[in-house]
């Protein structure tokens, strides 16, 4: 087998006028100057047209300046990730062109802000059309405001896409519907200035180089993983959160700081992650549903606290929005490199991995309930892309949400007991739980080994029984832990395995592998720990499984082989350069491998 797959021009046809049902747009320039708003205006435009959306950004870890890029994929079918190539680039400086050039579709279009001169030569392929428009100069000269570059640029871009001027203006008005009337009119003026300059530069109304489809998608939510996870926590009755600002987990803190007080709860910005996890532990001990969150470096600082949850048997959700590490690493870049940390230490815990932004909502609810059931730590493994990138998802079913309080005792139940032992040995390992303030429930909670009464004990027999009791808690819920998402041919001899943000990329790759004659089945585990039988069976049942992950040592592969999966069947595909996998990366690698075997 020897099939060469070139990056697919996303959904377009190589006709004189390309028609798009799937388009990738990049807007890039210096960060903080507002030019990137064009991406969000286009997002609103495509949303209005019924497209599915995926948006991401590539920013430097600084407040203002540095090169910044916003990306948008708009497609009639859901995508869940960016495409292989950039079809349309809006570039505000030379650097934007240089960064985008290798990823540009051969028949792509560039809108270049020529205020400071023409675009760099010899960078872009000759087949790419470039429209040079002095967007910045127009904004300053005609409107006296540099910030209005965004609406001028938006006007030009709508002409490239063949959007009716009225529709484009309507979309702009809708996007800005909350701003004052005068500001609205200024923005509309800028938009019209963009149209006028499009007229003068070969982009007249009604004769566009490209056209785009109508989507027909039903109403969806455009939401990021951090937002969906925070929302799920709230709906699951979560009322206490603690964290320390850290990219890419900060949005959870700010979301909950805004919302929890409206529901009688608190989100606390702690002095460090040691404090954050212990604040959350304190709140959780009182019976409130609580969560702490961070990313790699902060998550490591929380580890002693997580072990305390496991030992002292306190329910808490800990969310880790992974980023490129180790150490400070690359704060704004994607990676999935904390799996080793998440499963380290000899105590029971569950590690969940939401499959996509929508699943973050479901899994947050599941995690919050599960923590109550197992009275211990439930870790949620997100990653930078899943956390911060927004995509269109089906609206959440709020009416079906149920709360599970596990073995929490009511005051009446305690009053009816002859005696109460906090760490009572039980068949399922879960001890009935009396929270402070309840008469008759007085107890001692400790991370020391202790007897059933909570009194410290290092007696060997007691120690063994207590370790086994705690371990049984995980076995008692194993059957209820979230199964993975599967796609593709169930009988395929080749498998793809990856979690979190890798899922959608695997799915896009599988479609193209099938076209090239390689049928695969995908498993995207949603429970990383304990390793579920389905994961081990998935690998055992296949000739070869490509384990696809964003880290340098193949942590997922190590995890599942430790869980019993045969190592020799696994081939790792690793990416740790800070950029997300593209479907083409997987397709090329797998076809080459399969051809050589």
């Amino acid at each position: 087998m020897n099939v060469a797959i070139k990056p697919e021009p996303s959904g377009g046809q190589a006709a004189a006028r390309r028609h798009f049902s799937d388009i990738n747009v990049m807007v890039a320039g210096q960060g903080g100057d507002g030019s990137l708003t064009i991406a969000s205006l286009l997002s609103a435009l495509f949303a209005h047209r019924g497209f599915h959306l995926y948006s991401t950004s590539n920013i430097a870890s600084r407040i203002k300046g540095g090169h910044a890029a916003a990306y948008l994929r708009a497609s009639v079918k859901p995508s869940g990730c960016m495409g292989d190539v950039i079809d349309l680039l809006v570039a505000f400086d030379d650097e934007a062109v240089e960064i985008a050039a290798p990823a540009m579709a051969p028949d792509g279009i560039v809108v270049f802000d020529s205020s400071k001169g023409p675009p760099p030569t010899g960078v872009l392929a000759d087949t790419i059309r470039v429209f040079e428009i002095p967007i910045g100069r127009l904004a300053v000269r005609d409107l006296r405001r540099d910030l209005l570059k965004n609406c001028i640029g938006f006007g030009v871009v709508t002409r490239i896409l063949g959007i009716d001027d009225k529709d484009a203006e309507g979309s702009l008005r809708h996007r800005f519907r909350r701003i004052p009337e005068a500001a609205m009119e200024t923005n509309i003026d800028a938009f019209r200035l963009g149209l006028a300059n499009a007229d003068e530069n070969g982009l007249p109304a009604g004769d566009s180089p490209w056209t785009v489809d109508e989507g027909g998608r039903e109403e969806h939510l455009m939401i990021s993983g951090n937002e969906a996870f925070s929302f799920g926590f709230l709906v699951a009755g979560g009322r206490f959160y603690a964290g320390y600002p850290i990219t890419p987990a900060t949005e959870i803190l700010t979301w909950l700081e805004r919302r929890l007080p409206q529901f009688g709860g608190i989100a606390m910005q702690a002095e460090d992650e040691l404090s954050a996890i212990n604040l959350a532990i304190g709140a959780a001990m009182t019976g409130v549903r609580a969560m702490a969150g961070s990313s790699g470096p902060g998550f490591v600082l929380m580890q002693e606290g997580v072990s305390q949850l496991g030992s002292a048997e306190i329910p808490l959700v800990v969310v880790d929005c992974q980023r490129a590490g180790p150490s400070t690493g690359m704060p704004t870049k994607v990676e999935q490199n904390d799996i080793g940390t998440m499963i380290s230490g000899d105590y029971p815990r569950v590690v969940l991995a939401p499959a996509d932004q929508g699943d973050c909502f479901e899994m947050s609810i599941f995690a919050t309930n599960l923590a109550q059931r197992i009275q211990g730590p439930v870790i949620a493994a997100l990653d930078r892309a899943l956390s911060q990138d927004s995509t269109t998802v089906k609206p959440f079913d709020l009416s079906g949400v149920e709360l599970d309080t596990g073995k929490r005792l009511t005051p009446d139940e305690i009053a009816g007991l002859k005696e109460y032992r906090r760490y009572l040995i039980t068949d399922d390992g879960v001890s009935p739980w009396a929270v402070p303030g309840t008469p008759g429930g007085e107890n001692l909670v400790t991370g020391n080994e202790r007897n059933e009464w909570g009194l410290v004990s290092a007696e060997p027999k007691n120690r063994k029984r207590m370790v086994e009791k705690r371990a049984r808690k995980i076995e008692s819920v194993r059957g209820d832990l979230p199964k993975g998402k599967r796609w593709g041919d169930a009988d395929a001899a080749i498998g793809l395995l990856g979690f979190g943000t890798v899922g959608a990329v695997m799915e896009r790759a599988a479609e193209r592998l099938a076209k090239a004659g390689v049928e695969v089945q995908i498993l995207q585990p949603r429970t990383l720990w304990p390793v579920l039988d389905e994961t081990v069976e998935f690998i055992r049942a296949r000739r070869r499984v490509y384990v696809i992950e964003h880290n340098a040592i193949g942590q997922l592969a190590h995890l599942v082989s430790g869980g019993g999966a045969p190592k020799e069947r696994m081939v790792s595909i690793l990416k740790f350069d800070g950029t997300p996998f593209r479907a083409v990366d997987l397709v090329d690698f797998i076809l080459e491998q399969e051809a050589s075997l």
Partner: protein, 278 residues
């Protein structure tokens, strides 16, 4: 009556200052007639971090250095509880020193009793940050607390002065139960095994509670007195500073007792969801 755990016997050496602290806490609980189920004793790590086992209330054994954030979490999540945090000077001013500053600043409603003996007893006598070493004085945590905006109750007791110690404990608990905020009570609690300072410390203390001219609501005076005493090789005891700045704060009901049934909030949840609709 539901039978619960039988309080443990203290593990401390005969003559340990911590007996005096436990006695003061038990005396204060009895004096204020607070039911034991409404109290949680949050303990640090070390000899002092076993006190919670001995009293019969709810108890929690925190991670080393983390008793303050954990207690803050408890106090915020269930303001109806009387939260008494206890621990040693290593816990408070070495491994947990960062939290001390931020807890004084936040002023949450709980009592914090630090049993200061200037050594790590359980690990056999290493110096703690409050130990005088050569020319350098140990950290005086009462003055550290005075320097932090938000401080509302700062006192020092001596484990041998049991009557005053119980009064100070009662005052700290009343401060907290009135919603005025964080009550910091440092107790000089000598380690008879590694650093027996009963006689030295007693000689160094000036009891401000016996001084009718001393005004504990005057921050500048409190600071000046501490500095002046230190220059003489002495230190203050009693209520060093108190402020009613936090008085009258609304104490919300316990979060854990709130109705979190999703059906009750579904309209507001729907509003949030619709803000993401496209």
């Amino acid at each position: 009556m539901t039978k619960t755990y039988t309080p443990a016997e203290p593990i401390w050496c005969a003559g340990c200052g911590d007996f005096g602290v436990q006695g003061a806490i038990e005396g204060a609980i009895a004096q204020l007639a607070i039911p034991k189920h409404d109290i949680i004793i949050m303990a640090g790590i070390g000899c002092s971090g076993t006190l919670q086992n001995n009293v019969g209330t709810y108890g929690y054994h925190a991670l080393h250095g983390r008793v303050l954030p954990t207690s803050t979490g408890v106090a915020y999540a269930n303001p109806e509880l009387t939260v008494i945090a206890v621990g040693g000077d290593g816990d408070a001013f070495a491994i947990g020193a960062g939290h001390f500053i931020h807890t004084v600043k936040r002023n949450p409603n709980f009592v914090y009793i630090v049993m200061n003996n200037s050594v790590y007893g359980l690990t056999k006598g290493q110096d703690s940050p409050t130990m005088d070493a050569g020319a350098a004085h140990g950290i005086d945590a009462t003055r550290l607390a005075l320097s932090i905006p938000g401080a509302s109750f700062i006192a020092r007791g001596f484990s041998r002065w049991s009557r005053q110690l119980q009064e100070l404990t009662v005052a700290a608990m009343e401060h907290v139960r009135a919603g005025r905020g964080f009550a910091f009570l440092e107790v000089l609690s000598p380690c008879v095994t590694y650093h027996d300072t009963y006689v030295t410390w007693e000689g160094m203390l000036e009891n401000l509670d016996d001084d009718p001219t001393y005004d504990p609501t005057d921050l500048a005076a409190a600071f000046a007195r501490g500095v002046a005493l230190e220059a003489q090789g002495r230190m203050p005891a009693g209520v060093i500073f108190r402020s009613d700045g936090g008085a009258g704060r609304k104490i919300p009901p316990a979060m854990a007792l709130q109705d979190i049934d999703p059906a009750r909030h579904i309209d507001r949840y729907n509003d949030i969801m619709s803000s993401y609709a496209v």
